[in-house]
């Protein structure tokens, strides 16, 4: 086993492990076959599993996800790629109205075990239509599980859980993390969906982050430690199931909460987390809750502008200082 593996490689590895285990697992998407995917996150799958398990599609997001749904209802476990998460908007009917509702509205007659994988997030200068963190779109829809791993090992372990899940899972792979490296996943690695990870312990404030924002939160925690503020950092890993228990438990120790979200402040996932805390955890709070989130604007192209819009380490540090002074 390699010493380290990239997040990008982990995606392909995670899928391959499940394809080896279960012949019902098949992949479809644009340029995912011989080309290995635009982000090379399906590299090697076509070579190992061939055209009967790895299918190149036309540019037809509705047909991709709709066909995945039909296949999932009839015995397969499709893994559909939507190249950029912004394009989920092109098949939103399937994500919002069909896939998450069909089991419920048929009184439980139908099961839809599929994964929609998609490259998410900004920081790479892809502009307004290729840079969004859209996990909050999915979060408005009951009936979807939502995974957004931050490390290569989690990618593999959560991919296993997602593909084995009998529920539909939207799997957000962060573009800004693809090149990042980390420990490889041990054989058979499985990370149950809905379990947050406390990735740094601390007694003064709880930082809750997702995907690439975990890195930002951890860096902020380091800087804060130098000032004598010990931040606990929670990697949420999933939005649904949402591990509010881990967050509330942490707040029992720290009494202060900052969320670090890439999505815009308005309608961001952190808002729901905060509303749970403001209800069930109100008594635990010693200070206001602050959300460090994206500005409520489209993503601009230029670095200088994108930095101004997406959460940065400085913004997190400033937010924590504000609460610490409260």
């Amino acid at each position: 086993m390699a010493d380290v593996i990239s997040y990008r490689e982990a995606v392909a590895e995670g899928i391959a492990r499940e394809m080896r285990r279960d012949p019902a697992v098949v992949c479809l998407g644009e340029d995912i076959g011989a080309a290995g995917g635009v982000f090379k996150t399906t590299a090697g799958l076509f070579e190992e599993f061939g055209p009967e398990r790895v299918w190149d599609t036309p540019i037809s997001e509705q047909a991709i996800v709709g066909a995945a749904m039909g296949a999932a209802m009839t015995g397969m476990r499709p893994v559909a790629e939507i190249m950029f998460s912004d394009f989920l908007a092109c098949c939103w009917d399937y994500l919002a109205n069909e896939i998450p509702k069909v089991r419920y509205m048929t009184g439980g007659q139908v099961t839809v075990p599929l994964v929609v994988r998609t490259a998410n997030g900004g920081g790479l200068g892809f502009g307004a239509q290729h840079s969004q963190a859209t996990e909050n779109w999915a979060f408005t829809v009951p009936g979807l599980k939502i995974a957004a791993p931050a490390t290569p090992a989690d990618v593999v372990g959560m991919m296993a859980a997602a593909i084995r899940s009998d529920d539909p899972v939207v799997f957000f792979e962060h573009k800004g993390l693809l090149a990042s490296k980390g420990a490889p996943a041990p054989p058979g690695h499985l990370v149950e969906l809905g379990r947050a990870a406390v990735v740094r312990e601390g007694a003064d404030v709880t930082l809750v982050a997702l995907a690439s924002m975990v890195r930002v939160a951890l860096k902020a925690a380091e800087l804060l430690a130098a000032e004598g503020i010990e931040a606990e950092v929670i990697d949420l890993r999933c939005l649904v199931p949402l591990d509010t228990a881990t967050v509330l438990a942490s707040l029992g120790r720290t009494s202060r909460l900052v969320t670090v979200e890439e999505n815009p402040y308005q309608g961001g996932w952190g808002a729901t987390l905060v509303s749970v805390v403001a209800d069930e955890g109100f008594g635990l709070l010693d200070a206001p809750v602050r959300r460090v989130a994206g500005e409520c604007v489209p993503l601009p192209f230029a670095d200088a502008l994108e930095e101004r819009v997406i959460p940065t380490v400085d913004k997190v540090v400033a937010a924590v200082r504000h609460l610490a002074a409260y």
Binding site: G66, G70, T74, V102, T106, D243
Partner: protein
């Protein structure tokens, strides 16, 4: 189709017709809430197509889907109970008229977003191909659905992958209240689009159960043999308005009259006479249909409402609805 089979199909159609009438009356008397989209007039398409399918084939339908549910084995009672919000309904009261589904017989659902189910049928056919089962998938949809993007994406993908899927358009000349000709660039909304996917574009009299059976059987054979999907446009007409209590005043009286004379049940009855079936055999079938539906109405009325607690079940495969810890 021989006389015995045709009589069976006739009876199936009669059951559907009477169920739709019952649904209409129950809606007017306040026992069915929300909305209904009745398929009276469309019976021959569902029954004719089903007659050409295997039991393990897949069917996907629209909000106007009662006839497909029943043609694929749902009972009038299961359907009416669903419409009447009963625990004994096909979907336990969670679906309603627009979402009749009987997965156990391959009737994989009624979908209320126009066109959305076409890609699903493609996926079911793709799955059948991969599993090597020889199953077919059929999507039924309206003329109006031919103008939505999902139609285009589904047909192209099915054609490229040469999948065993049939697209059957129930062209009843109208979307809701607007004539399809007013909003469609070609005369035959489905058939005239076939060439854009390299498919033959066929039409059939959708009120003639034998013609529908024959066309679907032929296209199904072709598709199962690996020769790819097909698009079939079945011309028909709805006897009621679009939904609820729509009186369909936007349809010319002359047109309505002409189509009511071209009734699928009358057509089948005429064929039965031609085949030498005694009139009383037909009357017996009618009587059986009447009884079945009458009993279904009573049974549905007597059935209990769903337990409110079931509102919070069946989101997830574990049966529950928990979204957080």
């Amino acid at each position: 189709m021989d006389a015995a089979e045709l009589l069976t199909r006739y009876e199936q159609m009669a059951v559907i017709r009477r169920t739709e009438r019952a649904a209409h009356d129950l809606f007017l008397s306040g026992l069915v809430k929300g909305t209904t989209h009745l398929a009276a007039g469309h019976e021959a398409i569902a029954v004719g197509a089903s007659a050409a399918l295997r039991d393990d084939d897949y069917v996907f339908a629209t909000y106007r889907g009662h006839h497909h549910a029943m043609a694929r084995g749902a009972t009038p009672e299961e359907c009416l109970a669903e419409l009447m919000s009963r625990a004994t309904g096909l979907c336990g009261g969670k679906g309603g008229s627009m979402h009749l589904t009987k997965a156990s017989t391959g009737m994989l659902g009624s979908y209320a977003i126009v066109g959305a189910h076409l890609p699903m049928a493609v996926g079911a056919a793709w799955s059948a191909r991969m599993r090597g089962t020889g199953q077919l998938a059929v999507a039924f949809f309206g003329d109006g659905a031919t103008n939505i993007g999902a139609f285009h994406e589904a047909l192209n993908l099915a054609a490229v992958w040469k999948l065993p899927v049939l697209f059957v358009c129930e062209n009843n000349l109208y979307m809701e209240y607007t004539p399809i000709a007013d909003v469609t660039a070609v005369a035959r909304p489905a058939a005239d689009r076939a060439s854009a996917y390299g498919l033959p574009g066929e039409t059939v009299d959708g009120n003639d159960v034998v013609a529908v059976r024959d066309a679907v059987a032929r296209l199904a054979r072709r598709a199962r043999a690996g020769d790819g999907p097909a698009l079939l446009e079945a011309e028909t007409y709805r006897h009621f308005g679009h939904s609820r209590a729509d009186p369909a005043a936007y349809r010319p009286a002359e047109e309505v009259e002409r189509w009511l004379k071209h009734d699928p049940l009358d057509l089948a009855r005429g064929r039965l006479v031609e085949l030498g079936v005694a009139e009383e055999r037909v009357s017996e079938a009618d009587a059986r249909a009447r009884d079945v539906v009458a009993r279904a109405v009573e049974a549905a009325k007597a059935a209990p409402a769903p337990d409110p607690g079931t509102a919070l079940t069946d989101v997830w495969a574990d049966g529950g609805a928990a979204w957080r810890t």
